[in-house]
């Protein structure tokens, strides 16, 4: 990568991210598969950095997956989004932070469509009044939750207990960053660093001591594809796209992957398991997989959270090799315990990863 050139590109795509006071909206997929990531985001921002991040139990899905699976009309999803925005205003906020990338892209698209077609915006406002009796509003600032962690990256670094540095070699860890497609592919100006070379995760990795791995299929989709994953007979589409990415990154020997989309870490983790099980191929060291993380999990590791509080036991690819490299202590006996040490048994060991 020609770093100076990328810095120029990044400087063209810097978005304004207010420092504080946000209305927080959760992600369906992140809640389902990485619930501790959202808990970590809120703990870091509220309790470690003293930011005002407000959540109400009344917000719902934005409907994004149902919409991108073509099951509901555009007018429906826009009215649900208008309801979310109206709740923001009702609770006295004008900055909106989304945990989900699909939602974030859809919010960007919706605001742009309303700007271009005011008659549609008026219709949605009318729908909102009729169905929810709420006052129509639009956020003054719209950000993704990874934008906020990017904004706070140096503050997090200042409180860091661990760095993205290999304690055995003393060298920076080699980190793959994977950006969710809907973060900036549709509206490059809405993402930190644009669409071709987004800086949002790169900034975190650099601030926390890691080294970015550039590889040919860096910007390729993880392969979710909505209907292409949700229906079993289409699922090879999803698998094939992940396979393409891993084949492309393999020669660069990454230590870890960090993602900002809720779905991507699930697919990049689970399809590694399927590839290992069906093809006997692995992409990490010593026959293991490459650990995949959400950006909240990485922030949490850097700040010294217990890996099992971060939910790293729910990954199919074992994270211990990365924890060892970072020098993070962990108790293997606690890995699969419930709250207050409750015995939950253990998952079946998968043999395809040369696991312990």
């Amino acid at each position: 990568m020609i770093y100076e050139g990328k810095k120029r590109i990044w400087s063209d795509y810097q978005k304004e991210i207010p420092d504080d006071h946000y209305f927080y909206v959760r992600s369906c997929i992140r809640q389902s598969f990485f619930p501790a990531s959202e808990a970590t985001f809120l703990d870091i921002t509220r309790n470690k950095l003293n930011k005002d991040i407000f959540e109400t139990e009344h917000h719902t899905t934005c409907g994004g997956i149902a919409y991108h699976s073509d099951t509901i009309p555009q007018e429906t999803v826009m009215t649900i989004i208008a309801r979310q925005f109206a709740l923001m205003k009702k609770y006295g906020y004008e900055n909106y932070v989304s945990s989900c990338i699909t939602s974030f892209g859809l919010y960007c698209e919706t605001l742009e469509t309303w700007r271009e077609f005011p008659e549609l915006e008026a219709k949605i406002a009318d729908n909102l009044k009729k169905t929810c009796n709420l006052e129509f509003a639009k956020p003054k600032f719209l950000v993704h939750a990874s934008d906020l962690i990017y904004k706070y990256r140096d503050l997090i670094a200042s409180q860091a207990k661990y760095k993205l540095i290999n304690k055995y070699s003393g060298k920076p860890l080699r980190v793959i960053e994977h950006i969710g497609c809907h973060y900036s592919k549709m509206f490059p100006s809405k993402g930190v660093g644009g669409a071709e070379y987004p800086y949002v995760l790169v900034g975190m990795i650099e601030a926390w001591g890691g080294e970015i791995v550039d590889y040919p299929e860096r910007r390729h989709c993880c392969g979710f594809g909505f209907r292409q994953y949700l229906i079993q007979s289409n699922r090879s589409y999803s698998l094939t796209n992940t396979y393409k990415k891993f084949e492309s990154m393999k020669p660069f020997k990454p230590d870890m992957i960090i993602t900002n989309c809720p779905g991507c870490p699930y697919f990049l983790d689970r399809w590694q398991y399927v590839i290992a099980e069906t093809q006997g191929k692995t992409y990490g060291e010593n026959g293991k997989g490459v650990p995949v993380f959400t950006y909240e999990e990485v922030a949490g590791l850097v700040m010294g959270y217990n890996p099992w509080d971060l939910g790293l036991q729910t990954h199919q690819v074992e994270v211990e090799p990365l924890l060892d490299k970072m020098g993070i202590p962990y108790d293997p006996k606690e890995k699969y315990l419930g709250k207050n040490g409750k015995d939950l048994g253990k998952p079946e060991i998968v043999e395809c990863f040369n696991n312990r």
Partner: protein, 242 residues
């Protein structure tokens, strides 16, 4: 033959008129120059027999017969809606948005039932909107069962068996009151979602897809569950590039 001719006359000049009412087409089609950049970057084009350049060109002809063929086809269902095509189009077109408009019209006209991939809408409409209207989420972990998702791994099998304990351990609030991950969303909010569905055409779409699917199941002599299983697992068409 006469019936077909009447049908043809009824749709000629009509499908493109309907398509252009869709805001996604208005936003997504700005005089395509047919360069093929969208196809070169498209994850679906590499995997499926799919060429977004060709589809955009056909739509741009405004030829209703060609559009009707698209609405009946498998090809409009191959896109993953990743929107990678949008970034690099030199004319700021959005093939992905055009596909979304075509899919909506395919459902509205009932032509989605002519393709194997189109008929999959029955499951998608049923499952996703069951989650939205009953729980307030597109994905709800209790409904995401290992038996339908072996790729989710042994870890998900274990997690699913211990969802309540594990979510509590991870600071979530599964089905609980108040805020938090996977909290129980109050009924008043679910009622508002249902009202939104009713007045914006979602309920009508779901009913239309369901009725068409049940009719097809009856024709095939299948129960609803057997029909769902067929749709979920069957892959008969020549969909793939390799």
């Amino acid at each position: 033959m006469v019936k077909n001719k009447i049908y043809q006359n009824a749709i000629m000049g009509k499908l493109y008129d309907k398509l252009i009412q869709d805001y996604r087409l208005k936003e997504g089609l700005n005089a395509c120059i047919n360069c093929g950049t969208c196809t070169a970057i498209c994850p679906a084009a590499e995997f499926y027999r799919y060429d977004p350049r060709k589809i955009v060109t056909l739509v741009q002809t405004q030829d209703d017969k060609e559009i009707e063929n698209l609405l009946k086809s498998e090809t409009i269902w191959y896109c993953g809606e990743c929107m990678s095509c949008v970034t690099r189009c030199p004319r700021k077109n959005a093939a992905g948005l055009i596909i979304m408009a075509l899919r909506s019209l395919s459902i509205d006209t009932g032509l989605f039932m002519e393709s194997e991939k189109g008929r999959q809408m029955f499951i998608l409409c049923k499952d996703l909107n069951h989650n939205v209207l009953n729980y307030g989420y597109c994905v709800y972990p209790r409904e995401f069962k290992y038996e339908g998702h072996f790729e989710a791994g042994k870890i998900w099998k274990w997690e699913h068996e211990h969802l309540d304990d594990l979510f509590e351990r991870l600071g979530a609030n599964l089905d609980g009151g108040g805020t938090g991950a996977m909290r129980k969303i109050p009924q008043e909010d679910l009622d508002q979602l249902k009202k939104i569905y009713d007045i914006t055409g979602a309920t009508e779409r779901l009913e239309k897809v369901r009725a068409a699917g049940l009719k097809k199941a009856k024709e095939l002599g299948l129960t609803e569950e057997e029909y769902i299983q067929k749709l979920y697992t069957e892959c008969k068409g020549a969909h793939f590039n390799h």
